[in-house]
């Protein structure tokens, strides 16, 4: 009879899992259905099945163009997508490049103000981003960087550094100092030991931190909405908001946009995941 008990158990377990999957997928399916519906309004409906299935919203979002003053036509959406991707990658790269040496110093060196410095970094995280929107606007205006990717990257990277430092510091602290010392005895300089041993061992943590910085920048709305007013400079969250923020809310466009917006993120997740091999750091020390 254990066979039967096993079967029942399997059925129960699967039922729970399927229920959980439906629960979390439901809103997403709803967005998908909306994106392919011909109807433009939000109608109450239980099953997420497109009404009057059509590719029109998708075409409208992705195909958005704009006529320049000189009469030429540019692919507006493509440009905005590129803005988002370039700004987010640049943010992650700049943020990580600053955070890695900083975090390493916090993890390994004794210096005056080490503890205070860490607290200060964390304190900056307590302020909501809106609080700095106005000063940032003024700074970028003075630097003539409003409506530029560079300006946005500077703002995002500076806000992403504290958390990245915090995360990477614990990652570096978790790496036994023996590894670096072994490398130095083996003939490495401190810098070589850092590059050849510490960085590779911290790779999973660096990958996660990179992803986090990317996502934060990619999803950021408030600063982008404040600092950008030229639609050619918009990032995707601002574009999306425009679909529903005006007088008539185009939910179908919003939904179609949301799907397109999430594609690069999925791609990145897939790429980064390879670096997060679980337990990569295990086995180097102790028996």
């Amino acid at each position: 009879m254990t066979r039967r008990a096993d079967l029942l158990e399997a059925i129960a377990a699967h039922a729970v899992v399927i229920l959980a999957v439906c629960f979390s997928l439901y809103p997403i399916l709803w967005v998908v259905s909306l994106a392919f519906s011909g109807s433009t309004s939000l109608e109450p409906q239980v099953l997420p099945i497109p009404i009057e299935p059509t590719l029109e919203p998708m075409r409208e979002v992705v195909g958005a163009t704009r006529i320049e003053p000189d009469g030429s036509e540019i692919w507006l959406f493509g440009r905005q997508l590129l803005n988002s991707v370039v700004v987010s990658i640049a943010t992650a790269v700049v943020g990580i490049s600053v955070a890695i040496p900083t975090a390493y110093a916090f993890a390994r060196f004794e210096f005056v103000g080490r503890r205070e410095g860490m607290r200060l970094l964390l304190a900056t995280q307590m302020f909501p981003a809106v609080a700095s929107a106005v000063p940032l606007f003024m700074i970028l205006e003075a630097l003539e960087l409003l409506n530029t990717r560079t300006g946005l990257v500077l703002c995002y990277a500076s806000t992403s550094v504290p958390f990245a430092v915090f995360q990477l510091r614990s990652a570096f602290e978790a790496i036994p100092i023996d590894l670096e010392e072994a490398a130095m005895v083996d003939g490495a300089t401190r810098f070589e030991a850092f590059v050849r041993v510490v960085l590779p061992v911290a790779r999973p943590a660096i990958a996660v931190t990179f992803l986090f910085a990317f996502m934060t920048a990619y999803n950021e709305f408030i600063l982008a909405a404040t600092l950008l007013d030229d639609e050619r400079a918009f990032t995707l969250p601002v574009v999306l908001q425009r679909f529903i923020g005006e007088y008539d809310a185009r939910w179908d466009l919003f939904a179609a946009g949301a799907i397109v917006v999430s594609l690069p993120v999925m791609l990145l997740f897939y790429q980064v995941q390879r670096h997060m091999v679980a337990g990569l750091g295990a086995g180097g020390v102790k028996g």
Binding site: L179, G187, G284
Partner: protein
């Protein structure tokens, strides 16, 4: 291959002085062991030799080269860490090659040397594995291999066996000694295990309180410990120590330290009645005597049987009644049980000054 000379090494961490003037001199090609209780500064001393810590004062010389301020990589040393410290993201082969690569060794030489060392240590079949796919004993071998492959002038070992199980530990201990005899590279080996210390060392340094308590061949130190600490620390079970007074009934009679007869009074300096001393007796220096003919009487409390030997724990009888706890080691053919009173004869007595704790010798 080099000799090692350290003079008056002092190491402070902030307020605490960990090493308070340590002298080391290790002849070229010898196997030196630093032994001492936990926290006595053994690892710190080794790290000073490696250049992983800076001395607060003192000098270190390898051969005729002053290395006191040199970086680890400039010292031509290799070190085996207690944790092994294998690079977790590199295969065993890459781990072994790491130091050679940094020294820009050409590929052919590198491969040849790695293969040679792998063969020597019997890890050839593990070369492509990552450290996490190795057992503790295999990791230990790789760590040794990584040190050997570099052909350094000096090996440093920090308790390399402490993470192995006892059987493996004994086996690897012998292999380390064999490797040393084969390679002839000067080695400094840190341990708190006295068996490792006694068996491996050409020259042994006993450390305590940030100072070298005694230096010498292991057997000499065992036979003639310089002070109470060394006497108690080396030897298992530990030496029995009793604070007593020197006495003799009349000038023509035998000397006694408390109740322990002093066999060769001429060997001891400053014998005078009433002098406070510490009488030390190794458990192995006690033999069973016929009743009434012993120097001591022991009331047996616990008997541990260890194959060829019995370790007998008991209480020493004195004129004033039961005295201190005492340990004797006897051949296993004796039948000893709890409650027995044994008459024991003393084969050797160590005497130490009660104040300085130093050995009394002429």
């Amino acid at each position: 291959m080099v000799s090692v000379q350290a003079k008056q090494l002092i190491k402070r961490f902030g307020e605490t002085t960990v090493l308070a003037g340590v002298d080391l001199d290790i002849p070229d090609g010898e196997f030196a062991v630093l032994v001492g209780p936990s926290g006595c500064g053994k690892s710190t001393l080794l790290r000073l030799l490696a250049g992983l810590e800076r001395v607060s004062a003192g000098t270190i010389q390898f051969g005729d080269r002053d290395v006191t301020t040199l970086e680890p990589r400039e010292r031509d040393i290799a070190m085996v860490f207690q944790s092994y410290a294998l690079y977790p993201h590199m295969s065993v082969r890459k781990n072994l090659e790491f130091g050679l690569r940094l020294r820009k060794t050409d590929a052919a030489t590198m491969t040849a040397r790695v293969e040679e060392v792998a063969k020597m240590l019997d890890i050839s079949h593990l070369l492509e594995r990552l450290p996490r796919a190795l057992s503790g004993g295999q990791r230990q071998r790789v760590a040794m291999g990584r040190a050997i492959v570099r052909r350094p002038a000096l090996f440093l070992f920090d308790e390399p066996l402490s993470n192995l199980d006892p059987a493996l530990r004994a086996q690897v201990r012998v292999e380390i000694r064999k490797l040393h005899d084969q390679l002839g590279v000067t080695s400094v080996y840190v341990t708190h295990d006295q068996v490792e210390a006694m068996t491996l060392a050409d020259v042994l340094f006993v450390l305590d309180g940030g100072e070298v308590q005694q230096r010498g061949r292991p057997i000499d130190i065992y036979r003639e410990p310089a002070n109470c600490f060394v006497a108690k620390f080396l030897g298992s079970p530990a030496m029995n120590l009793s604070p007593v007074e020197l006495r003799r009934e009349s000038p023509d009679q035998r000397w006694f330290a408390g109740q322990f007869p002093v066999a060769t009074p001429t060997a001891f300096a400053g014998l005078e009645t009433g002098r406070r001393v510490v009488a030390g007796v190794r458990p192995h220096d006690l033999v069973l005597a016929s009743e009434g003919a012993g120097d001591l009487e022991l009331d047996v409390e616990v008997v541990e049987t260890l194959g060829p030997e019995l370790t007998v724990h008991g209480t020493l009888r004195t004129q004033a009644g039961p005295g201190q706890a005492y340990v004797a080691v006897l051949p296993a053919e004796h039948r000893v049980t709890r409650g027995d009173t044994l008459a024991l004869k003393l084969e050797h007595l160590h005497l130490f000054d009660a104040d300085t704790k130093r050995t009394l010798r002429c």
